[in-house]
């Protein structure tokens, strides 16, 4: 029998235990990966193509404060601005959803594609949307979830705005990082609100990346000391401002990850030492036969590393399969990054090594006679 065969035979001699050990590694690493992906989603929002040129302008007081619509003329005339659109989060309730099922935004449809060019939508549908003031386009994920088709009429009950809107679906788009949103004419909202003269925020696209820093500064300066001071920031910075709002939750999840990994180490280490203690006598026989200490340690290491790694493959692989099927609708993209997968494998391998330390130590220290006498 080759040495490799010997190790495999040893690892599988108590199939149940090997399965349980690898299984607990798999489950814990699955949990670890899930939590890490969740925390990544929360703290590092996904980045769209074209995001580097997009600038968000909002009221300096907070996002919940609106801006006067008259700012448009000032912003659109600034050098370096390629396109600018009003942008208001409508926050309407659709059907009997007790939570807000998807986000709806009022924008200027003429500017929409110039800003969010990654959205793909058939030309005739786009044309229809641009022409009909009461129409909207909706992302394919939301359309699928609610069974919406082009031509359907939907009613949104305003939670933030004191109006309800009836919209006709002109088109269905896809290709953005989050195909769940609904977009409709800002003018339609303005009409419903009796031309209130306010917008939620401005989104604009800079002509090129070089002008962005200067443009941000100029926009901020243009409205300084007015009744509506603004904060202009890149899309990235805008998204990051949400991150710190999660408060202690990320810390909490990180601590749970630590606990999970620690628990896992405990379980694996205890099973490994159980497995080795059980065959102490056998190992003593091997020693008596002339096997060297490092050979025995290598055997143990290979076995424990193999088990832990097998568990890691199942756990991380399972997570990868589960997440790719898009079952986690709560997050727009639940993506298992190579970094997180790598980290999980690293932990798996590390566990394999740690859990063999104690058994290997006692094996290498034991004298043959002592080992042969062991009963347990």
């Amino acid at each position: 029998m080759s040495l490799a065969g010997f190790i495999v035979k040893n690892a599988l001699r108590n199939k149940r235990r090997s399965f349980l050990t690898a299984g607990s590694v798999a489950i814990s690493l699955f949990l670890f990966v899930t939590l890490q992906v969740a925390i990544r989603e929360m703290t590092i929002p996904p980045e769209d193509v074209g995001a580097s040129l997009r600038i968000a302008v909002r009221n300096k007081i907070s996002l919940a404060n609106t801006l006067p619509a008259r700012q448009l003329t000032v912003i659109s005339r600034m050098p370096g601005v390629a396109a600018v659109t009003p942008f208001s989060f409508f926050g309407g309730k659709f059907k009997d959803d007790d939570s807000l099922g998807f986000a709806q935004f009022a924008v200027d449809p003429e500017k929409f594609l110039q800003l969010f060019g990654e959205a793909k939508i058939p030309a005739d549908q786009l044309e229809d949307w641009r022409r009909a003031r009461d129409s909207c386009i909706v992302g394919k994920d939301t359309a699928k979830r609610y069974g919406l088709k082009v031509g359907d009429r939907v009613t949104l009950v305003g939670t933030i705005f004191p109006v309800d809107l009836e919209l006709r679906i002109a088109g269905i788009y896809e290709g953005t990082i989050d195909d769940t949103n609904m977009w409709f004419h800002h003018r339609y909202l303005d009409e419903a609100m009796n031309n209130w003269g306010r917008v939620g925020m401005w989104w604009l696209r800079a002509e090129n990346a070089e002008v962005v820093p200067d443009l941000l500064r100029r926009i901020n300066a243009a409205f300084a000391n007015t009744s509506a001071e603004v904060r202009a920031e890149t899309e990235r910075a805008f998204q990051m401002s949400f991150v710190s709002m999660w408060g202690n939750i990320s810390l909490l999840i990180n601590s749970i990850c630590t606990v999970v990994v620690f628990t896992l180490a405990l379980v694996t280490a205890s099973t490994m030492s159980m497995a080795i203690r059980e065959r102490f006598r056998e190992l003593a026989v091997l020693k008596a036969l002339g096997f060297r200490r490092h050979q025995l340690v290598a055997c143990i290491l290979a076995e424990s590393f193999g088990l832990a790694f097998a568990g890691a493959i199942v756990g991380v692989g399972g997570a990868a399969i589960l997440f790719s099927s898009g079952k986690f609708a709560f997050f727009p993209v639940f993506e298992l990054t190579p970094r997180i997968a790598g980290l999980a494998f690293l932990i798996g391998g590390f566990l394999g090594v740690i859990s063999m330390l104690a058994p290997a130590w006692s094996v290498s220290r034991m004298s043959v006679v002592e080992g042969l006498r062991t009963l347990d």
Binding site: L20, K60, A64, G91, P162, E229, S241, L252, V259, E278
Partner: protein
């Protein structure tokens, strides 16, 4: 014949090394479960603890939170003089029009948080006896002054008495701290309502809080306001409104159950391993017991009890771990108001009981298969085992 309980207890500790790992593992699983559920409980308690049962809150129909509701000044004038509102000592109706809005403020230690600013009318504090000034003084209207919840102040930068912070073009100075008595008010900054309207460029108020003089009056006011065709309003008991503001609770509970389920599978595996090893090592002992006349049933029960005990010790340890967190204050985003909510980990006896029950279940499930195996061991070969 039943195996004596002391036998089970002592057996658990004979192989203490393997046992210890399983006990610790269960302990950690139970601790994670209890701690996360205690967050949900804390948030629920904080919402449920808010408001005075005598008060009615009037908001725009359809608004999911006070901060998205709007009440015009004219509506307020009408609401204020509705029949049946209790009067204070000087004869004014006990009603307060509030403005609730969210501002960005720097967090202590970097980053930004959304905080709720509540503009209150002079009677606002009278209607909310939960809120007690603990340090400094109340704000003077018109002087750009605010009072801040002391628990929120600890989490944000520039909120100590004497300090000031900028929001938009305005600088507000902190003149006092209040204690909201573990309610949702602990997440708020208070100032004068009309001053807030002018600073933040708001034409309308957000809500009206009022106190009906009696129960019949309360019902009359509710139906009168809700049926008035002139305005789309909703009047509901203040406590009910706050109890609805717990969207994050659902999420925390989902997270908690997901973690508990997944981790408990790991714990069951660990318990199974330990118990199988115990059965393996005690094969001869089991044979002996059988020869002595103990039935298969007793052996089965014995190992189940052992497994349950093992996990129960873990559960106790886990609950003790989790108690460290009890009362710690945390802050996170509220989904309704989109602002920082401050609340505590609340570990209740109910949660402890749940945690312990949970651990026992883990132990029983984990030891079921090993116990069946032990009970099925043939006597003769068991006696011959090494």
């Amino acid at each position: 014949m039943k195996l004596p309980l002391t036998y089970n207890i002592r057996s658990v500790f004979v192989r203490w090394r393997a046992t210890l790992a399983t006990v610790l593992c269960t302990a950690l699983v139970v601790a994670v479960y209890v701690v996360i559920q205690s967050l949900a409980v804390g948030l629920e308690k904080s919402s449920g603890n808010t408001g005075d049962p005598r008060n009615l809150l009037v908001v725009r129909r359809g608004a999911t939170a006070e901060s998205t509701s709007q009440i015009t000044a004219e509506q307020y004038r009408i609401i204020r003089y509705v029949q049946g509102i209790e009067r204070d000592s000087s004869g004014l109706p006990l009603a307060s029009s509030d403005l609730s809005l969210v501002i960005n403020v720097p967090r202590a230690g970097g980053g930004e948080a959304n905080a709720i600013v509540r503009g209150v009318s002079p009677l606002g504090a009278v209607l909310r006896p939960q809120v007690q000034l603990t340090k400094g003084r109340w704000f003077t209207p018109g002087k750009r002054e605010v009072v801040v919840s002391e628990r929120l102040a600890a989490r944000l930068a520039g909120m100590q008495i004497g300090e000031s912070f900028k929001t938009g073009p305005v600088t507000l100075s902190v003149v006092g701290h209040f204690n909201g008595n573990r309610s949702a008010f602990d997440s708020e900054i208070w100032m004068d309502a009309n001053e807030a309207r002018s600073i933040f460029d708001r034409e309308n108020y957000s809500s009206v809080l009022l106190r009906p003089e009696s129960n019949p009056a309360r019902e009359r006011i509710v139906s009168q306001l809700e049926n008035d065709k002139r305005f789309k309003l909703r009047a509901l008991p203040e406590v009910d409104y706050y109890q609805e503001q717990i969207g994050a609770v659902k999420l925390i509970k989902i997270l908690g159950s997901f973690l508990a389920t997944t981790m408990s599978i790991g714990a069951v595996f660990a318990a199974m391993n330990t118990m199988y090893a115990a059965v393996g090592a005690r094969t001869r002992e089991i044979g002996t017991l059988r020869v002595l006349g103990y039935r298969r049933k007793s052996i089965l029960a014995g190992f189940l009890i052992e497994g349950a005990l093992l996990a129960f010790f873990g559960g106790v340890l886990g609950c003790i771990f989790s108690l460290i967190f009890n009362g710690w204050s945390v802050g996170t985003l509220s989904f309704e108001t989109f602002s920082e909510t401050v609340f505590d980990f609340r570990i209740t006896p109910m949660l402890i009981a749940q945690g312990l029950a949970f651990s026992v279940v883990v132990g029983l499930v984990g030891s079921l298969l090993p116990a069946i195996r032990a009970a099925r061991l043939p006597v003769i070969s068991a006696l011959k085992a090494t």
